[in-house]
């Protein structure tokens, strides 16, 4: 089995991966970072979203070997120690999560949406979250959380 070297939430790791191993499986099972969730098998739900060299990807749609040499960001790396990221705080403040299963993917996507467009409006947020399904909240509180999170990120 070939080995890959990646930086995960700032830490470098080298591991052997199988040819069929998905990035999501690699993150969950080999790195034991179980905050990245798997909610489907057709790359539809977005529960598995992580960043790869700063861009969001559905980690179930990428082979682990494709990430060789890349910088991977997962939900576990978002908070600064005990201090949650402003987007995480905003989700809590607005009750933007219920069961929490879609949440890591939602938050990762939201952070990236705002990074790419700090002044994103409601339509932009709704559109930008198209690839992330939440079955619990009806989205409204997520939208409001992203707005507040964006404001906090703008500083």
């Amino acid at each position: 089995m070939p080995a890959i070297t990646v930086r995960v939430n700032g830490l470098e790791v080298t591991k052997e991966v199988g040819a069929r191993t998905l990035l999501s499986t690699f993150i969950r099972e080999q790195l034991k970072l179980t905050g990245t969730h798997v909610g489907c098998d057709t790359s539809q739900c977005g529960a598995c979203v992580v960043t790869l060299d700063g861009k969001t990807v559905k980690s179930c749609a990428v082979f682990a070997w494709e990430a060789d040499g890349a910088d991977i960001g997962t939900i576990e790396g978002l908070a600064d120690g005990d201090k949650m990221h402003p987007m995480q705080e905003a989700f809590r403040e607005h009750h933007g999560l219920q069961c929490g299963f879609c949440t890591p993917g939602m938050v990762m996507t939201a952070v990236s949406l705002v990074e790419n467009n700090p002044d994103i409006d409601e339509d932009g947020i709704r559109h930008g979250l198209e690839g992330n399904i939440c079955r619990c909240t009806g989205y409204q509180n997520i939208i409001d959380a992203v707005k507040t999170g964006a404001k906090a990120m703008r500083g």
């Binding site: 069929r20 969950r28 970072l33 179980t34 905050g35 990245t36 969730h37 798997v38 909610g39 489907c40 098998d41 057709t42 539809q44 739900c45 529960a47 997962t74 939900i75 576990e76 978002l78 908070a79 949650m84 995480q88 989700f91 809590r92 403040e93 009750h95 999560l97 219920q98 069961c99 929490g100 299963f101 879609c102 949440t103 890591p104 938050v107 339509d123 947020i125 709704r126 559109h127 979250l129 198209e130 992330n132 399904i133 939440c134 079955r135 619990c136 909240t137 009806g138 989205y139 409204q140 509180n141 997520i142 939208i143």
Partner: protein, 783 residues
């Protein structure tokens, strides 16, 4: 802080305790549970809708390196395990004979009856090996004719699914007084009839089902971690009824559960299969469903075709309602599946409206489809759809105003309490006020302008309302147990099961409020057969109604014991002691003692009066609900329809709910909005669709459409709080299901309003662009 304690935690929008765990990626869901040296299981599922299993050859698969165990139907038969029982509350036909209950074994024995039915269990060192082994299992099927639609299943000559159920009928049902209804129909000026479909959908929690089973050969005890909403009842069924190992030998736990909505209520085959495997292998076994398997094997919901008739007078007065439903049960009875189209859909017939007579009948046939079981609302969304659709349809037929029709026929507050024609105990509420408030908040003044703006774009705008009335359900009893730990923490264990609703917060909020404790000190436990003796889990909007009442009852008992401890210290009678803001005090004296003092005293006999034992403040109590509660409310909705493409945009949504007391508005509104999204999904896009040969067409998230962020409108949610119920200790009526009870009729009514000029007055759900476009085209063609 003062109001917080004064109101006993009620009314605080306490932020959620569980959120930090979930937001930082530290939730522990079923796929995050791993036991050292665990093996992996997968289920080989039937590709056939209806077929005899001629033979199964597992020899090649079993020989594969890393395969540990393969179990087939024949193996299962030889174990002597029992079938999974059904617990429907309705169990007899109208004529008094017994409901037909075919044996629901965890693996198909000799014959398969739906696509996706478990045929064999494969256990191996890895999931990849399981997959490879499944490819090597050869099953020889001999296809049989199949039937998937309920209307076809009850026709003469339809393929017969179970010998014990002639005509495929599992159960029939009636409720109400047929004579009174008939007389009302005979006396009325008009009878309007509409056939309607309540489409088959599925709960689709974002976390697929899964379980991990372990067995300890030394003690003979099993542990099952299971993404289930119903830990106690399912333990009893699995251990006592199916495997017959004794419930004391099964420790059943749900970790964090990623949504349930009823879809994780029932007893499923897979956890039973892996318990067996764990025992055989003396090793932990893990099984996780993937999403495509979830569509095939998670129970489905709704699926009724109904003929609804309303009788009314020229002045719009409602006289009678008659509903005949046929509910598709799938291939088995489900855990409580046969209750939904029968008892479940009957109780709320007629909604909050006055009728002289209502009569409901149903037939529940088997088909070659995945079994039906509760999905959020289970019967009440169907009942609400019946009444609120027929009102709008009748209004269209008779040239009446659907809003005025509702206004005229709502049960007035002076008529309450009353027993509805369906036997529901409607104790309190103010339906006219809730209705008017719904209309008031829905920005009617701006409507004409918005219609104009839509017309200018070539769009059609419509407005629709619904006045729903539903009822709670689920287990009537709940336990709340409080243990004061030596480290100062307070352990609160409740038998309810949060799958995202926030019980960890709201139950703790109640306990903290009642006792004047800090939220941070409360450690919450749920969904664990070791944490509470009994537990009703999650279902029927019972979390606060029954669970919160149990927390309140236990809190009160703790306060009573605390008073005795305080009285002992102050040397006064216990009835002189009062409790307020976390302090015991004797009015008129300077005797005071904090609850913390009392807790710290409880373990030393010297601090206690003779009738109390050390640990006396650690109390568990069981609250039992007498009569189910009646949540009710109004939904209003505005849509914009593109007549060229048939696409629908839901553009505004307003709700006024009467849930009685609101304990945490933030959480209540979360429930309502999530429910509306599921209702919108059912109304506009979700559909479990089997083709002629019984294959599931909508078997992935590519084919089964779920609402996304840009499908949802902004929602405005308000509450009517002037009618708390006395049926439980909190005055709450249940909030979990109401959203998806009200949304489908409100949305379909709005679409039909938008299309009325074309003469389109009904379209069956889901209102996909294609169906809407065709309805417009057909209406234009027939002029």
């Amino acid at each position: 802080m003062a109001t917080y304690v004064a109101r006993n935690g009620i009314g605080e929008n306490q932020r959620r305790v569980e959120d930090v765990r979930f937001l930082t990626g530290h939730g522990k869901y079923i796929d995050d549970v791993n036991i050292e040296n665990q093996a992996y299981a997968m289920v080989l599922r039937s590709p056939e809708a209806h077929a005899d299993i001629k033979s199964i050859d597992v020899s090649e698969a079993a020989a594969l390196d890393g395969v540990l165990l393969i179990v087939t139907g024949d193996d299962w038969k030889s174990t002597g395990y029992d079938p999974i029982p059904t617990k429907s509350a309705v169990r007899t036909f109208i004529d008094g004979s017994d409901m037909k209950v075919p044996p629901h074994h965890a693996l198909a024995i000799d014959r398969v009856r739906y696509v996706g039915q478990p045929v064999a269990l494969v256990v191996a060192e890895t999931q990849d090996i399981c997959r490879d082994a499944m490819e090597l299992i050869e099953v020889d099927y001999e296809s049989l004719p199949s039937v998937t639609h309920q209307s076809e299943a009850i026709k003469e000559g339809a393929p017969q699914i179970w010998d014990i159920a002639p005509g495929n009928v599992c159960l029939d049902f009636e409720l109400g007084d047929e004579e009174v209804q008939k007389k009302a129909f005979a006396d009325a000026d008009h009878v309007i009839t509409l056939n309607m479909v309540n489409n088959r959908v599925t709960a689709t929690p974002m976390e697929p089902r899964g379980a991990v089973a372990d067995f300890d050969p030394e003690t003979g005890k099993f542990t099952l971690w299971n993404s289930s909403q119903n830990i106690h009842a399912n333990r009893d069924t699995i251990a006592d009824v199916v495997l017959k190992i004794g419930k004391e030998n099964l420790h059943h736990i749900a970790p964090d559960v990623g949504g349930g909505f009823g879809g994780k209520n029932g007893v499923y085959p897979e956890p039973i299969l892996i318990l067996h495997a764990a025992k055989e292998l003396k090793r932990a076994v893990k099984w996780i469903n993937d999403r495509s398997e979830s569509f095939l094997s998670d129970t489905h919901g709704r699926d009724q075709v109904s003929k609804v008739q309303i009788a009314l007078d020229n002045d719009g007065t409602f006289r009678g309602l008659r509903t005949e439903s046929v509910g598709n049960l799938g291939a088995f009875c489900g855990t409580v599946g046969s209750f939904t189209p029968t008892g479940g859909s009957s109780r709320t017939q007629g909604g909050p409206f006055k009728f002289d007579g209502i009569y409901y009948t149903a037939i529940a046939p088997f088909t070659n489809t995945c079994p039906l079981d509760p999905y959020r609302g289970a019967g009440r969304p169907e009942g609400s759809y019946h009444i609120d659709r027929i009102i709008d349809y009748a209004a269209a037929q008779l040239g009446m105003d659907p809003i005025e029709l509702r206004r005229k026929n709502l049960i007035p507050p002076e008529a309450l309490p009353m027993k509805s024609p369906m036997g529901l105990d409607i104790d309190c509420g103010n339906f006219p006020e809730v209705f008017e408030e719904t209309i008031r908040i829905s920005d009617r003044e701006g409507y004409a302008k918005r219609v104009e703006a839509s017309e200018a774009k070539g769009m059609k705008r419509g407005f629709g309302v619904c006045m729903y009335l539903e009822c709670t359900g689920g287990g009537p009893k709940e336990e709340a147990k409080v243990t004061f730990l030596d480290n100062g923490k307070v352990e609160l264990s409740v038998g309810t099961a949060s799958t995202g609703m926030g019980h960890e917060t709201v139950h703790a909020q109640l306990l903290a409020g009642h006792l004047g404790l800090a939220m941070e000190d409360i450690v919450f436990r749920q969904s664990d057969t070791d944490a509470t003796e009994i537990g009703g889990g999650h279902g029927g909007s019972r979390g606060l109604e029954v669970g919160g009442s149990a927390v309140t009852q236990t809190s009160r008992q703790i306060i009573e014991v605390g008073k005795k401890i305080a009285a002992h210290r102050f040397d006064v009678d216990a009835d002189k002691v009062e409790f307020e803001d976390g302090r015991f005090h004797v009015p008129g004296t300077n005797h005071t003692m904090t609850i913390r003092d009392a807790i710290d005293s409880q373990n030393d006999p010297d601090n206690l009066p003779d009738d109390l034992e050390p640990g006396c403040m650690n109390i568990s109590s069981v609250f039992e609900r007498g009569i189910i509660s009646i949540p009710n409310g109004g939904h209003a909705c505005e849509v914009e329809v593109d007549p060229e493409t048939g696409t629908i945009k839901v553009d505004g949504y307003w709700v006024v709910d009467d849930f009685g007391t609101i304990v945490n508005e933030m959480l209540a509104s979360g429930q309502v909005m999530g429910g509306i999204a599921q209702g919108l999904g059912q109304a506009l896009m979700e559909d479990i669709y089997y083709d002629e040969s019984g294959q599931l067409v909508t078997g992935s998230l590519m084919d089964y459409a779920l609402p996304r962020a840009d499908d949802m409108p902004r929602m405005v949610i308000a509450y009517y709080e002037d009618a708390p119920t006395e049926k439980n200790l909190l005055g709450v009526k249940g909030a979990g299901e109401a959203g998806c009870v009200g949304a489908p009729p409100a949305i379909v009514n709005a679409v039909c309003d938008a299309l009325k000029e074309y003469g389109v007055h009904h379209i069956d759900m889901p209102l996909t662009p294609e169906k809407v476009w065709k309805a417009i085209r057909d209406a234009k063609a027939t002029g």
